[in-house]
Amino acid sequence: MPMTLHINGETHQVDADPRTPLLWILRDKLQLTGTKYGCGESFCGACTVHLDGKPVTACRIKLKSAVGKQITTIEGLNSRVGEQVKRSWLELNVAQCGYCQSGQIMAATALLERNPSPADEDINEALEENICRCGTYLRIRQAIKHAAQKLA
């Protein structure tokens, strides 16, 4: 039976096993490939999306538990904070390979939405589970602060 998902302000009908992780619904059924697969076990944060505004790892959310929630992916990240975070990311040349960056940006935006001027510890705590193998951590931190300043 098709289920209804609310993603980036649009409604989608999805016919799949209700236990399918949201990540694979997004990627394989809806072609929203900005959300990345990195580990499938909620260890790496590459699949971070917002569920009712909160950052979650889409590889650990089952399709059925995403029903009725507002889902935001990197493709639909257009809030004032989200747009600024993306601009700051570009300005500081944060991305290297870029594979982790959708997840980083989603986590960073969620942090700034709830804490407009995060200290280093807040950033560490919010992004501790977002692995970046290219090691862009310093610039991520700088870009979050840059965005916070621009938004203030």
Binding site: D17, P21, T33, G34, I74, L90, N93, A95, C132, R133
Partner: protein, 730 residues
């Protein structure tokens, strides 16, 4: 990720000419000098003129919409090559940075070979900027000459009176101006300059090269629009996941796939030499159905050792002399006369690359040949291997080049492992594209590791504490033996990638002996970012620090004296020490340590400051890095590569290891195979040595010094000596 050829010659610095000679000597052949292949469109002259574009060579395309497309022959995997190579073209073309677009080159070894590798297209060994520096500049300069010629013709003026500034062609006297786009069609009709007619700018006139921070050209990484192999969607495409044998060397006995085949979305189960693939309509269908496979393996011939046993084997081997990689003087005699002899040993585990994007490849096999979509790092070897696997010609293998979500060497496998898997699976469904996706678990357990190594070092000091003898023995698997690269980098049984950094020890010590034991194991191994230097920098730089401490001398001053004849190493050491405040005591509770390494013709030194937390954990607080990579093309990318290299190197320094237990890999995801996370990232300061030397790479040289710098800092703080990675406090 390759060791540059120059690593195999030890001792002194090697000039570029030596590199060329060496390549020819190894039978690789080489296109000497820089050349500018024509574009495929230019080959079909009329096509080019019809669309009003200027394609003076295989690297530049100027279209009527005023866009300058730079065709990039190297893989963008985060190291910034799209930006780097585009900078070179834009500089000579005097283009406006905003009109530049980077586009990946197709697989075409005639046009897009790596000039340092001869007839081979590929990316690695931090060679992109080094091999393409002149070529890309000439490509831009040639385009500029044609645009100037076109403007001169159109305005009936002398070419000498025409100037270009930020993408605008201008004739001052008549105040006429035109964009590149407006001139493209006419320029395409101008004679193509011969390479020898092309003059390059005087470096003092550079406007983009050396500019602090240009926006990167590998776009789409902030909004999810960048496409990686993982993201490819093609009509009718199927997705495959694969199960590899639980131990290396195990063989398939039987597989019962009936339950898997009955699952929703599953299309087929395919057995290939490397494992069993479940092919389905999408990833999750394949992945969940895979658990229902009933597989029996024949493990009678499989690898069944544990890391601990290997360690014991290696230590045993280290008692015997190995193949001699370097011999200066007579260490035995010198050690006998030495007033003090020190000995130490160092152990290094296997390491996984753990690129953020697990290995994957899309393949389609048809009557005409094979097409793959891949973050492709070794075009020519992959084409050759695929052709061999399918019984077709390499030219019949088309490669669609995508971004790679990291690689660190993993996507540059001379054996083409996962690429061949994808092709063999796709072969069973002619005409249908199949995306092979390795899970993180397969990626972690699938082999092709940085080998495990054991080093034994011995040194003798004279009465003043100066080293008079240095012996180093390295035990571990050769990365390149029995691969298509063997002839390239293995000589007299000595794999340059096993000993580089050790056989090239820069310190002036009269008697030096380095030898190596090649261990044979069924565990597949591969180069990992900075290759041999991942271990040799640690053993040599920790040991030299120990010598300095034993001699009661300052580690920086001690090194500085022994680096006579290595001004660029001295330069980075001096700069890093100065900027780190070496002369003054470190902040309370912190220890400071230094290390340096030349790798891939670049020079790096790092000073680390460490502390120990209340929970008795190592904390790296701050790293000051000095890098000399010749002329700095993109300072911001150099800085980013140093920051990233430090983060990458801190993984093996503090937490990463692949361990075997009875032949099985213990770690299988990021919970077991730990890597550096944001909370552990130190402050990093990067200082670039101003230089006008030919530019060299920065993708790898920042990695080697970090682990020894941290170990030396910890020793300074605690007095403990460190003999293994990852570092552990006692």
């Amino acid at each position: 990720m390759f060791a540059r050829i120059d690593q195999s010659k030890r001792g002194q610095d090697m000039t570029r000419r030596d590199v060329l000679k060496l390549i020819s000597a190894t039978g690789m052949g080489l296109t000497l000098g820089v050349y500018l292949p024509v574009s495929s469109a230019a080959a079909m002259d009329s096509a080019m003129k019809a669309n009003g574009s200027l394609e003076p060579n295989a690297f530049v395309r100027i279209t009527p919409d005023n866009r300058v497309t730079v065709i990039i022959k190297h893989l963008e995997m985060g190291q910034g090559t799209f930006t780097g190579l585009a900078t070179l073209v834009a500089e000579e073309l005097d283009a406006d940075w905003s009109q530049i677009v980077a586009e990946p080159a197709p697989a075409d070894v005639k046009r897009y070979n790596n000039l340092l590798w001869g007839p081979m297209q590929g990316t690695g060994g931090s060679t992109a900027i080094a091999n393409a520096y002149e070529q890309m500049r000439k490509a831009g300069a040639a385009a500029k000459m044609m645009l100037v010629a076109a403007a001169a013709k159109q305005w009936a003026v002398d070419t000498g009176q025409i100037a270009i500034h930020q993408g605008v062609v201008h004739h001052k006297a008549s105040d006429k101006q035109a964009t590149f786009g407006q001139l493209a069609a006419l320029a395409a009709a101008m004679p193509m300059p011969q390479p020898e007619e092309i003059t390059l700018k005087d470096p003092k006139d550079f406007k983009l090269i050396g500019k602090q921070s240009l926006p990167r050209k590998d776009v789409g990484k902030e909004d999810g629009s960048a496409i990686f192999t993982q993201d490819i969607q093609l009509p009718g495409m199927l997705t495959a996941v694969i199960t590899h044998p639980p131990r290396f060397g195990a063989k398939l006995k039987t597989v019962d796939a009936s339950q898997t085949l009955a699952e929703q979305g599953v299309v087929d189960v395919v057995t290939i030499p490397d494992g069993i693939a479940v092919v389905a309509e999408d990833f999750w269908s394949a992945q969940s159905a895979r658990k229902k496979l009933n597989i029996e393996w024949d493990e009678s011939q499989a690898f069944n050792k544990s890391s601990k046993e290997l360690q014991a084997d290696y230590m045993e081997l280290a008692k015997k002399p190995g193949l001699v990689a370097r011999q200066d003087g007579d260490t035995g005699a010198a050690l006998e006369k030495a007033s003090q002899v020190l000995e130490s040993h160092y152990s290094f585990p296997f390491l996984a690359h753990a690129a953020m994007e697990p290995m994957n490849c899309v393949a389609k096999v048809t009557q005409e040949g094979c097409e793959i979509w891949n973050g492709e790092q070794l075009q020519t070897p992959d084409q050759t291997n695929i052709a061999q696997a399918l019984g077709i010609k390499p030219e019949q293998v088309k490669i669609n080049m995508l971004y790679a979500g990291g690689s660190f060497g993993r996507r540059a496998n001379p054996m083409s492992d996962y690429v061949i898997e994808a092709v063999l699976i796709a072969k069973t469904r002619p005409g249908t594209p199949v995306k092979l996706v390795w899970t993180r678990e397969e990626d972690t357990q699938g082999g092709y590791y940085r080998p495990m190594y054991y080093h034994k070092l011995r040194a003798g000091l004279d009465m003043d504490g100066n080293p008079v003898a240095w012996e180093q023995r390295i035990v571990g698997q050769s990365i390149l033996k029995n691969t298509p690269f063997e002839g390239f980098l293995v000589k007299d049984g000595i794999d340059a990638t096993s000993v580089e950094g050790a056989s090239t020890l820069p310190y002036s010590i009269p008697n030096i002996h380095v030898d190596v034991h090649n261990v044979e194991l069924p565990v597949p191994v591969l180069w990992l970012r900075s290759v041999g230097h991942t271990h040799t920098a640690f053993s040599t730089e920790v040991f030299i620090d120990e010598l300095a401490r034993t001699a009661k001398q300052d580690p920086v001053a001690y090194r500085m004296r022994l680096l006579k004849g290595h001004p660029r190493l001295q330069g980075v050491l001096k700069l890093a020490a100065e900027k780190a405040g070496w002369g003054s005591p470190p902040p309370k509770g912190r220890g400071r340590g230094v290390a340096l390494q030349e790798s891939f013709s670049s020079f790096a030194a790092q000073v680390a400051e460490v502390s120990i937390t209340e929970d008795k954990e190592i904390k790296v607080e701050r790293v000051v890095c000095a890098i000399d990579c010749g002329l700095a093309i993109n300072p911001d990318i150099i800085k980013a590569q140093m920051e990233g290299s430090i983060a990458f190197g801190l993984g093996p320094a503090l937490m990463s290891a692949i361990t075997f237990k009875q032949g099985k890999v213990v770690e299988n995801n990021f919970d077991g195979y730990e890597v550096l996370t944001m909370d552990k990232m130190p402050e990093v300061e990067v200082h670039i040595v101003p230089s006008s030397a030919p530019p060299t790479g920065v993708g790898e040289p920042g990695v080697p010094p970090i682990a020894p710098a941290v170990a030396n800092a910890l020793s300074a703080l605690t007095g403990q000596r460190f003999h293994q990675l990852p570092l552990k406090l006692s």
